[in-house]
């Protein structure tokens, strides 16, 4: 009895070890740092302070009174907004793509899925630099437009929210397509035939049968796009020119440039808390409801 318990524990020990070392421990360190005092030369001084969390919402006046400062809150809102739009765009683009791939003959499907994953083979940073060349004034697109008579700068999107959005959608689209494909590929398309036999036109078939059955994939895809894009910093930094700061770039900035580790850590913790809250709300809303019912 004892022996089997010990061996059972030993069996799962590697999993606990990995989760502990790579998951829990770094988070605890972040949490610890967020409650310390910044060392102006980088790093932290081992003294307790919750100043970092105050700094997130308030500014200290000369006489030490707190003044509400919405600058970081704005960054949060912008990040959430951009992440939400990114997720929506990825879904709108990804759904038809995943559907198309799922309806191909099996041999062709594998090739197409491979093509979807090919961008991962190159570093995201390099791919994002490529977007600079595409989006900038006198860039790839702008130059072509000039050669057919448009004015220089007609197509100059670099350092705009649109550029950031394009970069984010580009970066995270595969994370949407893959789970969508996984759920659509399993789907019995004879159900779509049955629905059209029962007087559902194309749109009703999609709405009543295909989307509800693809829901697990849609949820997974949205999470996989929303969560990383809310903390993204490469696209906002390179394509938004750092002017349009997002949470990811803010955290990066605090650690690398401003040397305010506690504040960077505090923002990270807040970001994580926000994402977890969103997940909890989602789980709550869906609890016991099962799959959406057919309309009644």
């Amino acid at each position: 009895m004892q022996r089997t318990q010990i061996s059972a524990w030993l069996g799962v020990a590697p999993a606990w070890f990995v989760i502990g070392i790579f998951g829990v421990l770094p988070m605890l360190i972040m949490l610890g740092i967020s409650f310390m005092v910044a060392d102006p030369y980088g790093g932290v001084e081992p003294a307790y302070s919750h100043e970092a969390y105050i700094q997130f919402l308030f500014e200290r006046d000369l006489d030490d009174s707190l003044i509400f400062n919405p600058i970081y809150l704005n960054i949060v809102l912008r990040s959430v907004g951009l992440a939400a739009i990114t997720t929506a765009l990825c879904l709108i683009v990804g759904l038809p793509v995943a559907y198309f791939i799922a309806r191909q003959p099996e041999s062709r499907r594998d090739v197409l899925i491979l093509l979807i994953t090919i961008p991962f083979w190159t570093n995201l940073l390099i791919r994002t630099y490529a977007w600079i060349l595409i989006l900038t004034r006198n860039g790839v697109v702008d130059a072509r437009l000039q050669s057919v008579g448009f004015e220089a700068g007609t197509f100059d999107l670099l350092y705009t929210n649109t550029a950031v959005l394009i970069g984010l959608v580009y970066s995270y689209l595969p994370f949407m397509v893959l789970p969508l494909y996984a759920s659509l590929e399993k789907m019995d398309f004879r159900l779509a035939e049955a629905a059209s036999d029962l007087y559902a036109n194309r749109w009703r078939v999609a709405w009543e049968v295909i989307l509800p059955l693809a829901k697990p994939g849609i949820v997974a895809g949205c999470l996989l796009v929303f969560v990383p894009s809310i903390g993204a910093f490469i696209a906002p930094d390179l394509l938004g020119g750092g002017k349009r700061m997002m949470l990811g770039s803010l955290i990066y900035f605090q650690f690398a440039t401003a040397r305010n580790w506690p504040f960077g850590a505090a923002v990270s913790i807040l970001l994580m808390a926000f994402v977890m809250l969103a997940l909890l709300v989602y789980a709550r809303v869906n609890k016991g409801q099962g799959l959406p019912a057919g309309g009644h």
């Binding site: 035939e193 629905a195 059209s196 029962l198 019912a293």
Partner: protein, 360 residues
């Protein structure tokens, strides 16, 4: 009266890259009467399912017309046709309850809520599934899912109901019970049924008329009795039930009948006309239409080479003197005993008119 469904010279060709095009249906014409239980029967690949899918609208013909009560529907999408299908694997929506499944068609037709409720109740009552409205399809047995699939297809009161081998996934006992059930439902609803199957027994027991199909052609259309008793060609005779095929020559003809010699001492009288003396012909002869007797003089005689006991009957393989072999099926006697044993010499009795002269 106009036929409920009419196929006029319908052709369907499947083209796949790198393969020769396949003619799934070649110039098929059929007329199915109002309120008929009509069966498309044939082996897999004969085109019966293709024809059903063309009527349902899942596929479109390369040529010809499909008329529903006189109106050409060949190029309407499935949701514009007042035709519903019971699918082979039921295709119930897993994310809906039984009641929502049955209500689906009516909801898409934008019927008023109260009417939908009534129709759903009626349809479920018809298949004796009233108590299961709140269940999910995954909580039902195969037979129950079958019933729900039927209720769902019948609820919008289609003009024609298409059934694509709906019983093939059920076990034997249930399948036999469902045959009677389907027949009852067809009577009670008064809807034209077009039933696709490869199971000849299913076709014979349920249908008003059967179309036997093979290789994209309709071989014969007729009532079960006519299909079984008077097959027009070798394919039909072979596919429906068992047949002995005997080749012979016409030795004598007389007013509507002919005497055909299939072995030196084996003459068979058929009722079919149109054959002239000396013609080489083929005969189909059902095993149960041959009786074995004592090897008395005057009868064609032979030896029992095999005797296979199958409960209610015994099948004998008899080698008739002169070389040809026939299969004979005899009902077993009261005691359950077979009448003959392997090695017995027997006489073979074939009543006049028992054999069919085959065309082609």
């Amino acid at each position: 009266m106009k036929p409920a469904v009419e196929a006029k010279s319908v052709s369907k060709i499947y083209e796949t890259a790198g393969h020769a095009p396949v003619k799934a249906l070649d110039n098929v014409s059929l007329a199915i009467a109002e309120n008929e239980f009509f069966t498309l029967l044939g082996p897999s690949g004969c085109g019966k399912t293709t024809l059903l899918r063309l009527i349902a609208g899942f596929e479109f013909p390369n040529g010809g017309h499909i008329l529903l009560q006189g109106q050409d529907i060949a190029h309407l999408p499935p949701d514009k046709r007042p035709v519903n299908t019971v699918f082979q694997h039921y295709a119930l929506f897993p994310h809906m309850t039984v009641a929502q499944n049955v209500a689906f068609g009516l909801r898409m037709l934008k019927r008023p809520q109260a009417e939908i409720g009534d129709s759903v109740r009626q349809a479920l009552a018809l298949v004796k599934m009233e108590a299961y409205g709140a269940r999910r399809p995954s909580q039902l047995s195969g037979g129950q899912q079958q019933r729900v699939a039927f209720a769902r297809a019948i609820a919008p009161h289609p003009k024609v109901l298409l059934l694509d081998e709906p019983l093939s996934a059920l076990d034997l006992k249930l399948r036999q019970a469902m045959r009677l059930e389907l027949k009852r439902l067809q009577r009670e609803t008064g809807i034209t049924f077009i039933f696709v199957t490869h199971d000849q027994e299913e076709a014979l027991t349920m249908s008003d008329r059967i179309a036997v199909m093979s290789a994209g052609h309709v071989q014969q259309v007729g009532e079960p009795l006519a299909i079984y008793e008077s097959p027009v060609n070798r394919f039909v005779a072979d596919f429906i039930g068992d047949s002995n095929f005997l080749d012979g020559a016409v030795v004598k003809t007389a007013k509507g009948g002919a005497l055909i010699k299939v072995a030196p001492n084996f003459l068979i009288e058929t009722s079919a006309a149109g054959a002239a003396k000396g013609d080489k012909v083929s005969l189909a002869l059902r095993p149960e239409k041959i009786t074995l007797a004592q090897p008395v003089k005057g009868l064609p005689r032979g030896v029992v080479r095999e005797a296979v006991y199958i409960g209610n009957s015994t099948t004998y393989m008899v080698e008739i003197d002169g070389g040809i072999g026939v299969t004979v099926r005899e009902s077993n006697s009261l005691s359950g005993q077979s009448h003959f044993a392997v090695g017995d010499r027997v006489g073979v009795v074939v009543e006049a008119g028992a054999a069919r002269l085959l065309a082609g």
